[in-house]
Subunit: 379 residues, 2 copies
Amino acid sequence: MTANAASGLVTPQKIPFETPLVLENGQTLPRFDLMVETYGTLNADKSNGVLICHALSGNHHVAGRYSADDKYPGWWDSMVGEGKPIDTERFFVVGLNNLGGCHGSTGPLSENPANGRDYGADFPMVTVKDWVKSQALLADYFGISQWAAVVGGSLGGMQALQWTIDFPARVRHALVIASAPKLSTQNIAFNDVARQAILTDPDFCGGHYAREGKIPKRGLRIARMMGHITYLAEDGLGKKFGRDLHPDGLQYGYGVEFQVESYLRYQGDKFSERFDANTYLLMTKALDYFDPAAAFGGNLTRALQHVEAGFFVASFSTDWRFAPDRSHELVKALVAAQKSVQYIEVKSLHGHDAFLMEDEAYMRAVAAYMDNIAKEDEA
Amino acid sequence: MTANAASGLVTPQKIPFETPLVLENGQTLPRFDLMVETYGTLNADKSNGVLICHALSGNHHVAGRYSADDKYPGWWDSMVGEGKPIDTERFFVVGLNNLGGCHGSTGPLSENPANGRDYGADFPMVTVKDWVKSQALLADYFGISQWAAVVGGSLGGMQALQWTIDFPARVRHALVIASAPKLSTQNIAFNDVARQAILTDPDFCGGHYAREGKIPKRGLRIARMMGHITYLAEDGLGKKFGRDLHPDGLQYGYGVEFQVESYLRYQGDKFSERFDANTYLLMTKALDYFDPAAAFGGNLTRALQHVEAGFFVASFSTDWRFAPDRSHELVKALVAAQKSVQYIEVKSLHGHDAFLMEDEAYMRAVAAYMDNIAKEDEA
């Protein structure tokens, strides 16, 4: 497929879907593209497909590099590749940019067929359920009737979970990592502050900033800075920066004084230059809305009753955005629904971001689980 | 004094200080006013004075009401008053608005004698040490050579602690509540995001918004919304709002959908209309800079070696902005320095804000400690 195994180089492809997609909010997308990357080879009976769902700011570029001198590999290159926990010598791995994204899939930056202009604020609100629906069409495109596994961290884990509920027969295994069956009140509150920072940025222009030649960078920067704090563990942040001063030292002013300020502002600046504000807004809303138990009177066990997939659930000790307790909720409901589940709680200093890091116990647990999946398939 | 005991009505007074005040950053304030409220009566030997130091957004209006139909009493009315834990029938209680404040004391909104315009961004950065220095001049004004107690929560607790270090002979007791001997990296990080929201608001005008007829409300609103989340406990927020929807219900849009959004935006709006942005900025900087151990090679025990005051330290179980661990650091250092200390860890659902709430165990502990102080004095 698109990955060149010999060189480790990968090429994204844009896949068009010309049938209308009815969304959960009642609106219809007349057509859409999904930007996709694949790694490894789909086997003859098309049983080794693994779907990787991305989190808030992720995309289709999961692994590999675009050129020999490409400095940065895909966002989960430690996890996906030859001989890696999700081994592309055994699995056909699919990464995509979600609908509403800003990395090539149809989203707010795309042309609205209704008027030939960019969607901007007119792009419809999409939900985790909508993403899963579009991903099922992507599976059809590849001729994959059942994924060996659907895998994701954070918001990606929510998609993996939704897959098992909406298409029970199409998922053999779900790997739900650093995620939750729904956001907490505090999660929603942080998301709302992030959105308000963007929505009240004068350059937001009601969401039609692109056609005004503007970018609401200030708001996006603040949103990312705040988000970033919540992705990191208090302890990890302390160990990394402490109260260390920037080389410029104490100035009794509002420039950079502490190293952590320099780090955060840099993260915010970088993000505000590469990410689309409308996409950020709708991704956070998809997070807020996610609550598969709601349709079952809040009973998650009942929501899971028809699930056929086996589950691998992982959480990280210092993750306070999606704390281990939130994974416990899912594990308990799966056990109560008599589903197969393996759970690991990983000791880590990296907070929520730990799911992207190379912790050995974590990598080995995923590798072992994926190895069993491959063996099932070979058996 | 200014409190009318019979009616519970109080009147603030502005006290002028016409001598220059040299600040920690090397700048000098040529003169300053402190806005003050007092409650109770100073005894003949002036030994029953209690100073209340305020936190980030507090002021001199600690207790009582301004008129019979005044809906809102002072911010610590539950703690300070006749028959209350800090009993104004026994103590002469002094509340003040700190230097740099926006409630009547000299601050960014005041006239700069150098040019007859408002200070705005030209108001010098003040530190906890500077506040304590100005409060010592306030003690002199009242003829109080030694406070029976200096009391404060959060940033207020930092002032109480600094008092015991800078003026050991002038403080008999320090009540340090929901505070810390210095901010954590995460605390500084949150403060920096709040400041960046204000500093990058186009209406901030480099801090001279007042003379431009503008107010950086957007930034102040975002800062407060974010701050508010960190003042509340995750559990408390969940119990109060859960995922409850606003009466307008789900609209798949960016209006208010969840009740917690309505609450937070209201808090942000209200704050942005009543608080000065430059004051907010400098108060957060005073928090960041506070680190009395720094001058002693980071050794807090050594910083406390000449302290004469007895300490009452309190923390709250769900406070994650100034977690119990941070109070433990202070308690351990006090014990190591062989100082007298009583410590209480209060179970509460109210997070950092718990120090302002009427938890029974907490109120009784403060009342008992204050009762002992009064008895010492009478003995």
